[in-house]
């Protein structure tokens, strides 16, 4: 899994590429969930490059959502890949997160 992060004021942006599963969720938790606070309460997660997602990753996304809600923030899933969309839809989690098709900040910076 490749994790690319960026920060705008008040926002944590991350692009996840590859497998997002029990073996790779640790770095995500460190880089994203544990950095949520009153000054960084909105998280934008680009899932465009995810080719596999499992229940551990879904649980991590839900935990991220709950943390942002504590500070009045939100989680936005952007450019959800077909693989990730199927799993989110199967579990009805697609209705829980805000969705976006915009290219995330980390990936914009990489291609600039």
């Amino acid at each position: 899994m490749k994790l690319v992060t960026d920060n705008r004021p008040g926002v944590i942006e991350v692009a996840i590429q590859g497998r997002f599963d029990a073996h790779t969720v640790g770095p995500y938790i460190t880089e994203v969930t544990e950095r949520i606070d009153a000054d960084h309460a909105t998280v934008v997660i680009d899932l465009g490059g995810v080719d596999f997602i499992d229940s551990s990753a879904l649980a991590a996304l839900v935990t991220t959502l709950k943390r942002t809600l504590e500070y009045g923030g939100d989680v936005v899933l952007s450019r959800v890949s077909p693989s990730a969309h199927i799993i989110l839809e199967l579990t009805r989690l697609d209705e829980v997160f805000t969705r976006s098709d915009a290219v995330s900040g980390p990936l914009r910076n990489l291609t600039a």
Partner: protein, 395 residues
């Protein structure tokens, strides 16, 4: 008596080395090493001293170790040049011992018997030191294998305990047969099922806890206890069962940062109907008149805030030969040796192809199809199948 030949000394070295390999404690290694050194190097006193896994180990042969010699040898054995101690006289031979990439101590052949050490004897001093280093590595490996064996043993026992906590897997009443089977991917897992009856209504529940291994298994045990409590409190109402269960485990899911997908089915034997509710769980399939259709979850899984807001039941009237399957994603996610997944389409076809037979037979057949697809590849995830079969009306 003539001094032993070089060949005899080599044979003696082999015997000593074989015997030394039986020692799995550092004290025994030190003692055997000192005797080896004394016999092979033909010295008046052989000393071994090192700091190993069990602390400082030291020995000497054939005399008792003089006071402070072990500490001196460990302290200075790595840099003996210029030292004035009798231990480091130019007539003696000292070789260092390294373990884990670090200097740990040394061996010393003190007082050569015939005035000076031969080249062979100097070489043998080094050989004994290397042999001691190898033996220390063996001790590490042996102890690690014991720890690993204990971990595996504990996991096997935990798996047996987890299986023992599952309810009796088969229920038959009023022409309805319900059966469940769970195959963990490792000794312990994150799937669970419950087959129960309330007020004459068979109730089946399958849940899948996020994560893998021991942490998921421990959470699964708590969820299972809560599920039994929820079924007893709610009775034959799958939405109420899931709401009560989700509410009870919500604090636990918060603390463990987990989610649990759950589906429950309640059978009305008199009406020949099955009512299903699913919170984020799939696959849930219904086969009616030979055609399979999925039952989509109506809500996300517990762990999500207010998960039960949209939770709704779905009811089917079933006829003889119809069936309901609540599985876990371990069935659809199973990979073949070539890496492809079993998938939902293949599962649908497999369920359509099941014969109108007993539920236990159908579950076994379904697992057989998945196993043939797996073709010897490792089982990727826990696999659970709970099947409800409607038989002929025997009222």
């Amino acid at each position: 008596m003539a001094a032993p030949s070089t060949a005899d000394r080599m044979l003696a070295a082999c015997d000593l080395f074989i015997e030394a390999g039986t020692h799995l404690d550092t004290a025994g290694v030190a003692a055997a090493g000192s005797e080896q050194l004394a016999r092979l190097a033909r010295c008046e006193l052989a000393v071994v001293a090192f700091e190993g896994p069990d602390g400082i180990s030291s020995a000497s042969y054939p005399h008792a170790l003089p006071a402070n010699v072990a500490e001196t040898l460990i302290r200075d054995g790595n840099t003996v040049s210029g030292r004035s101690s009798w231990l480091f006289s130019p007539d003696n031979r000292v070789a260092s011992i390294r373990h884990g990439g670090t200097y740990r101590g040394a061996i010393a052949a003190v007082g050569p018997v015939d005035g000076d050490f031969t080249v062979i004897e100097e070489w043998l001093v080094l050989v004994v030191a290397r042999r001691l280093e190898a033996q220390l590595e063996l001790i590490d490996l042996h102890r690690q294998s014991l720890r690993d064996a204990q971990i595996v043993h504990d996991a096997v026992l935990a798996g047996e305990m987890q299986q023992a906590l599952l309810s009796k897997p088969t229920l038959r009443t009023g022409g309805v047969e319900m059966t469940a089977s769970l195959r963990p991917a490792r000794h312990v897992g994150g799937d669970l099922y419950e087959v129960a009856e309330a007020d004459g209504y068979p109730i089946g529940l399958v849940a899948d806890v996020s994560g893998k291994g021991a942490p998921a298994a421990m959470l699964t045990t708590a969820v299972h206890a809560a599920a039994r409590h929820a079924i007893a409190a709610a009775g034959p109402d799958p939405v109420d069962i899931l709401c009560r269960l989700g509410t009870e485990i919500a604090p636990l899911l918060d603390r463990t940062e987990s989610i649990v997908t759950i589906a429950a089915a309640v059978v009305d034997p008199a009406a020949r109907s099955v009512t299903v509710a699913s919170a984020g769980h799939s696959p849930v399939l219904v086969r009616r008149f030979g055609r399979v259709s999925p039952v989509e979850p109506s809500a996300p899984p517990p762990g999500v805030p207010n998960f039960d807001t949209g939770l709704r039941p779905t009811t089917f009237t079933l006829w003889p030969g119809d069936l309901v399957l609540i599985g876990s994603d371990g069935l659809t996610d199973q990979r073949s040796p070539h890496g492809g997944a079993f998938g939902t389409d293949r599962l649908h076809v497999s369920v359509e192809g099941l014969e109108a037979g007993p539920a236990e037979q159908n579950v076994a057949s379904l697992f057989g199809v998945v196993d043939r697809f797996r073709a010897g590849a490792a089982q990727d995830d826990d696999q659970t199948a709970l099947m409800i079969v409607i038989g002929e009306d025997d009222r």
